[in-house]
Amino acid sequence: MHTYPSIETKESSIINPLTDPHIEIKDLNVYIDGRHILKNINLALPNNSVTSIIGPSGCGKTTLLKTLNRLVDDTKGVEITGSVLVNGEDIYGKNAEVTHIRKKMGLLSQKPYPLPMSIYDNVAYGPRIHGTRSKKELDKIVEKQLRNVALWDEVKDRLGHSASGLSIGQQQRLCLARGLAVEPEIILGDESTSALDPLSTAKIEELLIELKKDYTIVLVTHILRQARRVSDYILFVYGGEVLEFGPTEQVLLNPQNEITKQYVKGFIS
């Protein structure tokens, strides 16, 4: 095992409590059309835990999340320096292959976007493009992942129906199942419950807590209570910089940084 250095930010120095990071970000800078969106990020995100990224709108939370699976590549005028290591491998390295990287990370977006196909095909889509052809195997994956997200009993009689016929909450769970079907190691959530009603939100949160046994989960959220409910670690981003990173209780109840303090108390949003 490597040992990881402590994290230095401009405002304060935080001792990184982690010894076994799954994702490590080194000197990451992101510019979009010349604007400096993420500034000198150095971070290590731990295995098998939930890390929530919080911070005011436009602070760079979502961009940070998108750099993890290189979806940020698609942004026009983007420029990235530094590196992001997943299991020690730089995903921005010369030999990195973007489809392979993305396969490792399931993405759960703000609103569910089911693919324009049946429920079954939505889940089978990922495995199919990665080469699974056997009907039997696909059946098995579809059932397993739909059970995983507690959707199987609700949809097992209409797997062939269009996914857009499901409720929003069901669609979001379907999207999670679709992401899990390619057997990722990491789940990225971009305000994944913001379009959902409280009941569906609770279901997704429950799932995420359960899934952290097997996955490393990184969430962007606006809701501090949600961050408190589901996450083990909290990362506070402000103006493109990481101001604070630490265990949930510590960041929310006893923040070290003055700006974090104000944000957590609701003075800035």
């Binding site: 396969k103 399931g106 693919l115 324009p116 196909m117 269009s162 992401g179 390619v182």
Partner: protein, 298 residues
């Protein structure tokens, strides 16, 4: 004060309705007028025979419209077979791959294509496409032809419907939310996987609509097609044969040879035929569109 405003409101409502009815009635008047003018021909021969008879010889009193129906369908189908794949791929390239600079340059250029008068396309067809078919394309298949053929008509027509097809398809593809593409990409799909399985599938109703609009235009296109497709009143047996689409028949002959009995009525009937073909085509495509949209949302 209030009163005048209400009166104005009512006035606008009534007058816009009136204008709508007037423009709609034009369609009805055309249909009725064409039918009335065709009646002498119906009295002379039955409709089934008119539609299936292959011989067009007005002097001898035989009016078979099959060659013209076949000519119209052949030219239109060939143009669609060329235009659909090219336009879909062009639109995909412009929306998914091209840089903003290229896109901003290409789209106005495509619109200029739409503004070129049809007769120029006809001249281009005569000077370029017809010899190309005669000297290079037909010999590959071992066929001897003058080059004036339904294939030439189809190619010229395809180029003419590019602009409308491309610009509608680009519009349609631009409405697909980025998040949907991101959902596919984040599963490790390549861009091509995403285009093939997600984008084109989501865009299908819009693409069909683009095809329908272009086809309606293709059916009626007259002058450019007339200049290159030979205008021989025979059912074309191959794409290298000459054909005689309905609009060309009307344009070539109306106002001439009217002394031949029933000739005017026959031309009117061919116009009615074109009208019905376009009407039925639109009706069917509307049904298909509704089913496609239902598939996606239901």
């Amino acid at each position: 004060m209030l009163n005048t405003r209400l009166v104005k409101d009512a006035l606008v409502k009534r007058s816009t309705l009136l204008l709508l009815l007037i423009s709609l009635s034009v369609v009805v008047i055309i249909a009725v007028g064409l039918t009335i003018k065709s009646i002498p021909l119906f009295e002379y021969s039955n409709i089934f025979q008119l539609l299936t008879d292959k011989v067009w010889s007005p002097m001898k009193g035989s009016f078979g419209f099959l060659p013209f129906i076949a000519g119209t369908l052949a030219v239109t189908l060939i143009s669609l077979a060329i235009a659909i794949p090219l336009c879909v791929l062009t639109a995909v390239y412009l929306t998914e791959y091209a840089s903003d600079a290229l896109k901003n340059m290409m789209l106005p250029l495509v619109n200029i294509l739409a503004a070129i008068p049809p007769v120029l396309y006809g001249v281009w067809g005569v000077l370029f496409i017809v010899p190309l078919i005669q000297l290079y394309i037909a010999p590959i298949f071992g066929v001897v032809t003058s080059g004036y053929s339904v294939l030439a008509g189809g190619i010229v027509l395809a180029v003419m419907i590019f602009p409308i097809m491309i610009s509608i398809m680009v519009e349609v593809l631009q409405t697909i939310p980025y998040e949907l593409k991101a959902a596919s990409l984040s599963l490790g799909a390549t861009k091509w996987d995403t285009i093939k399985h997600v984008i084109l599938k989501k865009a299908r109703p819009g693409i069909v609509a683009a095809i329908v609009l272009s086809t309606s235009r293709a059916f009626g296109e007259t002058i450019a097609v007339l200049m290159v497709c030979g205008n021989v009143a025979k059912v074309p047996a191959s794409i290298f044969d000459a054909g005689y689409p309905i609009p060309a028949l009307i344009a070539n002959n109306f106002g001439e040879m009217m002394s031949i009995p029933l000739y005017e009525s026959a031309l009117m009937f061919s116009a009615l035929l074109l009208f019905v073909i376009i009407f039925v085509f639109n009706l069917i495509s509307r049904l298909i569109l509704r089913r496609l949209e239902g598939d996606q949302h239901g």
